[in-house]
Symmetry: C2
Subunit: 216 residues, 2 copies
Amino acid sequence: MKILVVGANGQIGKHLVSFIQNHDQLEAKAVIRNEKQESFFKDLGAETAVIDLEGDVESIANAAEDVDAIVFTAGSGPHTGKDKTILVDLDGAVKTIEAAKMAGVNRYIMISSFDTTRQAIQDAPRSFAPYVAAKHYADEWLKGTDLDHTIIHPGALTNDEGTGQIAAAPEVERGEVPREDVASVIVACLEKEETIGKEFQLVKGDQSVQETIDSL
Amino acid sequence: MKILVVGANGQIGKHLVSFIQNHDQLEAKAVIRNEKQESFFKDLGAETAVIDLEGDVESIANAAEDVDAIVFTAGSGPHTGKDKTILVDLDGAVKTIEAAKMAGVNRYIMISSFDTTRQAIQDAPRSFAPYVAAKHYADEWLKGTDLDHTIIHPGALTNDEGTGQIAAAPEVERGEVPREDVASVIVACLEKEETIGKEFQLVKGDQSVQETIDSL
């Protein structure tokens, strides 16, 4: 099963590609912004595709031609302007969704934000609200398609080492979660068809990834 | 027929409320951001409703309870940050659409941007692309509803006096159009049920508003 990882050079993305490459039944195709980011993935033996998410849908669809699933874990990041929020976090995500349809890739896993409800847009500090809105509309767009989707809403992301102990459910108490554990959860979702159509919040907890994903 | 004008204090909005108040069969309810903007509309004998488009859907729905149609002509404007683009031009529009549904108002006229296709997002100068994207997704959201909608895509807006001479069609050559003429076209759409389901570009031209709208 080949997985197109969009946002591979992000911190979740790097863990994810690494897990996938060390997995018996999975292989990764890493979508990166430029060739300078290539060596990390080459070292893991992963394919790469250089794509500008602000570019056309067709380039993404071309990269998706030979894959079985797409994981969207790209983000405009904290160092770009607010203009990138709508162009990457929303429009980039939607283009990836449209590319999935064009390429006939049914499985799509979206890494969203902890709470992307309408209420969350309103309750967010004004500086954070545009990001929440972008993620809200990207999630809504995905839910409006026939794709076999899973939407993961991780809590506050940390660079702590993964513990493999998590809590996940449609609603959990707000908390932190190591990026490495988010990557483990993505892999567990790729392995388990029953996560199709599921949408859940994810924080660190006291149950194993496998057990938690099984109980969703 | 009572019309909720969202973005009434904008330059198109002011012309529109004025036309509506001078129209035999129409009356306006002007949605404004704060009470300081009230006097212009009171002088025209128009009702007002003070609403923050970054607030909740319910306040918009409450204001829409007693109206027959909604016109969305709000915009974050050139003097606000890029963060407002997604919060007003996209999320504000969507909240107004959701409010229309909640209040049972079927008629909805959207003042969009000249070209809001996917291609236009890509072709736009990077500084303008977030705005095009916001308008694209607002239009898409509206088209995904059952509302009786009309989407107007005006060319480059000017403050020139209206001439009443326009060109409008699904695709016309890019050009300017006085805001006053855009307001006239909105009124013509409110008068004419056959504009429901229509989406057209609008620039200045050499045919009367009535004739042009009739031929759509």
